[in-house]
């Protein structure tokens, strides 16, 4: 029999609730999240890509993470909670934790902040491709009872969309993740296969689109592919054209067969700050201007006569 709960995606409008905790609770109830289980050790992975606050639409709101911690402590007797993130090419996790308010949150809630790059990691058990040779798995993520991913809903220049699947890319315990950028689609699908989170709570409170915009949305699901399909639809993108979604489905990470529950998706889709034709045009113009500079410098010598420099 087909398990429908695996593909349920709940959408909750946070503006209807006084507290963000109530909204998260509602989102979890809608996907029939089992609160009766006991999770002693929990890892939470927010999206901290740079030193920009959540109000810029780029990083996960610490208040949402705080709400999740409160719920898990209350309902599941969570004992040890870790907030995990790894360094990125241009970002150091320890400074991002500090600058974005996660250090204060950790002190307040008595939880631990972990930089995955500075902790133990394991090799991939069955090496199947060139990517599996290079990727290692953070040990902590294999030991936890519950792994919660708290991605940010935003657009991305390289992959088109950043949501549930792309957030796991930050689990690779490697500082220079830029080495995977030429095969990022494959890397995203692969890391999702290796360390699949049990629960996804998407931060769409302020979404990062053409501009940051207040969307007041929280999504929850246990299927990252389904979440990304919904996120793509909200962002006005065609999920079939986002390669890592197709790649992940092929690898069995999740299913594109989803069902939305809760608030109407259309109202969020209408509010989402989409990037239009002008943006695509400006990107082309930027590339053109770069090639113009290169051409200018090579032509410049032919236009002006050479002047002897110092010492010549």
């Amino acid at each position: 029999m087909e398990d429908n709960t695996e593909r349920l995606v709940s959408l909750v409008d946070t503006s209807r609730y006084h507290e963000i905790t109530e909204a998260v609770m509602q989102a979890l109830k809608l996907i029939h999240f089992d609160f009766n289980r006991e999770f002693r050790k929990i890892a939470i992975k927010p999206n901290l890509c740079y030193y920009w606050k959540s109000s810029t639409g780029e990083t996960t709101d610490p208040t949402l993470v705080e709400a999740i911690i409160d719920i898990l402590r209350m309902k599941c007797n969570a004992d040890k909670i870790f907030i995990v993130e790894s360094d990125a090419t241009a970002m150091r996790a320890k400074y991002a934790f500090k600058a974005l308010g996660y250090e204060k949150l950790a002190t307040r809630k008595k939880i631990k902040l972990l930089n995955l790059c500075e902790n133990d990691s394991l090799p991939v058990p069955n090496v199947t491709s060139s990517i599996s040779k290079e990727i290692r798995i953070p040990k902590i993520l294999t030991e936890v009872d519950l792994f919660v991913s708290v991605p940010k809903l935003k657009l991305h220049s390289l992959t088109g969309l950043t949501c549930a699947l792309k957030n796991q890319f930050g689990c690779i315990p490697l500082r220079r993740k830029v080495v995977f950028h030429n095969r990022i689609q494959e890397a995203i699908a692969f890391i999702n296969k290796l360390v699949p989170p049990d629960l996804f709570v998407v931060d769409g409170i302020i979404a990062g689109g053409k501009t940051p915009k207040k969307l007041d949305l929280i999504m929850a699901s246990s299927d990252p592919v389904a979440v990304d399909c919904v996120a793509a639809e909200i962002a006005g993108l065609d999920a079939r054209r986002i390669k890592y979604i197709a790649e992940s489905e092929k690898m069995g990470v999740g299913s594109t067969n989803f069902k939305c529950v809760g608030d109407d998706m259309q109202s969020f889709a209408e509010t989402f700050p989409r990037k239009g034709f002008v943006y695509r045009l400006s990107r082309k113009a930027l590339l053109k201007s770069y090639s113009f500079y290169l051409r200018f410098f090579t032509l410049e010598g032919k236009i002006f006569k050479k002047q002897p420099g110092f010492g010549s």
Binding site: W52, K53, G101, E103, L294, F297, T298, G309
Partner: protein, 344 residues
């Protein structure tokens, strides 16, 4: 003195790379040595045939330098300035000259003792719009100046995805945040435009919880009757620069949404092949099609001052005035914060 300067470059990262390229473009400078901790940068510079050092102390000791440009992290400025002055090197030091007032006084004393020339790299004085402002104020075309405001929104986190040096996260190594990093430019600009300061009041705020300010407001009253407001902000992702001077008869605005000239840093962008070709062809000529290069103008002014035995401005004593204002604002806010905490 010869008709050219033997220059050493201490720190060839962001700002230092601009000084290096400008030195190579000038006819009256010769780059004798470059010091930086980055092996990548040193290897690139080594290919241009310039001796490189991984320690600025070694560079100063082993070379006969007429002048040195210091673009090191803030916490190294004092040591480098003192070492260079002991060796008789004239100094162009990037702002801030020192992390705090105490260090600034030590440097100023040392400069007075050794008699060398020190200039603080306050490039905003060389922005064409600001120079026009200065002329207009001197000519009196704006009438008596009533009010001036300066907004400078930039900082280490404003540019997307740029790697931020680790020392920036250490308050002990930076000595301050937005006020010291950006506010000092506007304070210096207003002192240059309006003269002596009569009184100062300020407010700083920390949103990033990094142990220093990321937003600062300073209101200044000048002896000539002008009131000025300085706002420095590290929080925004969009760089913004705006200086407005309002007189009795007219007003003038210097405005730039993207404050930054053409950046030909060594870290990213062009291949070494293109850089070499650019350097070869651009010697002795400013980047004409790319707008006025304020860093070129700044270095050119410094070199001319040294060669003509003039005192370059702003010097160490000028920085002391700025440091006093910044120090006052920081102390004032520390006292206020303490009073607030105690009352809670």
């Amino acid at each position: 003195m010869a008709d050219y300067l033997r220059i050493g470059i201490a720190g060839a990262g962001g700002q230092g790379s601009k000084h290096l390229l400008n030195c190579l473009r000038m006819k009256n400078t010769k780059v004798v040595a470059v010091a930086d901790t980055s092996k990548y940068i040193l290897s690139k510079i080594g290919k241009l045939g310039i001796p490189t050092y991984s320690d600025y102390r070694e560079m100063i000791k082993n070379n006969e330098l007429d002048a040195i440009t210091i673009s090191l992290p803030n916490y190294l400025h004092k040591d480098c300035c003192i070492l260079a002055s002991e060796r008789g090197c004239n100094i162009l030091v990037e702002k801030p000259m020192a992390r705090n007032l105490e260090e600034a006084k030590q440097i100023a004393d040392q400069i007075r003792k050794t008699g060398i020339k020190l200039m603080v790299g306050m490039c905003h004085r060389f922005i064409p719009g600001c120079q026009e402002l200065k002329k207009a104020i001197e000519r009196g075309t704006l009438g008596q100046i009533q009010f001036a405001s300066g907004l400078f929104f930039s900082g280490p986190f404003s540019s997307g995805g740029r790697r931020v040096s680790e020392w920036i996260f250490d308050p002990d190594k930076t000595g301050g945040g937005a006020l010291l990093d950006l506010g000092c430019h506007l304070i210096d600009l207003f002192i240059w435009l309006f003269g002596e300061v009569r009184s100062v009041n300020g407010y700083v705020e920390s949103n990033f919880s990094l142990g220093y300010d990321d937003y600062a407001e300073v209101s200044m009253r000048f002896k000539n009757g002008t009131n000025a407001l300085v706002v420095a902000n590290w929080r925004t992702r969009v760089p913004r620069y705006r200086v407005e001077v309002v007189g009795e008869c007219d007003r003038k605005v210097v405005y730039s949404e993207k404050f930054g000239i053409f950046d030909i840093g060594l870290r990213r962008g062009f291949s070494s092949f293109v850089k070499k070709r650019v350097l070869k062809r651009m010697r002795g000529r400013p980047f004409l099609p790319l707008g006025d290069d304020i860093y070129y103008e700044e270095l050119d002014y410094f070199v001319k001052c040294i060669l003509n035995d003039d005192e370059p401005k702003p010097n160490a004593d000028d920085w002391l005035k700025i440091a006093e204002i910044i120090d006052f604002v920081y102390r004032q806010n520390a006292i206020e914060a303490k009073v607030q905490t105690e009352s809670i």
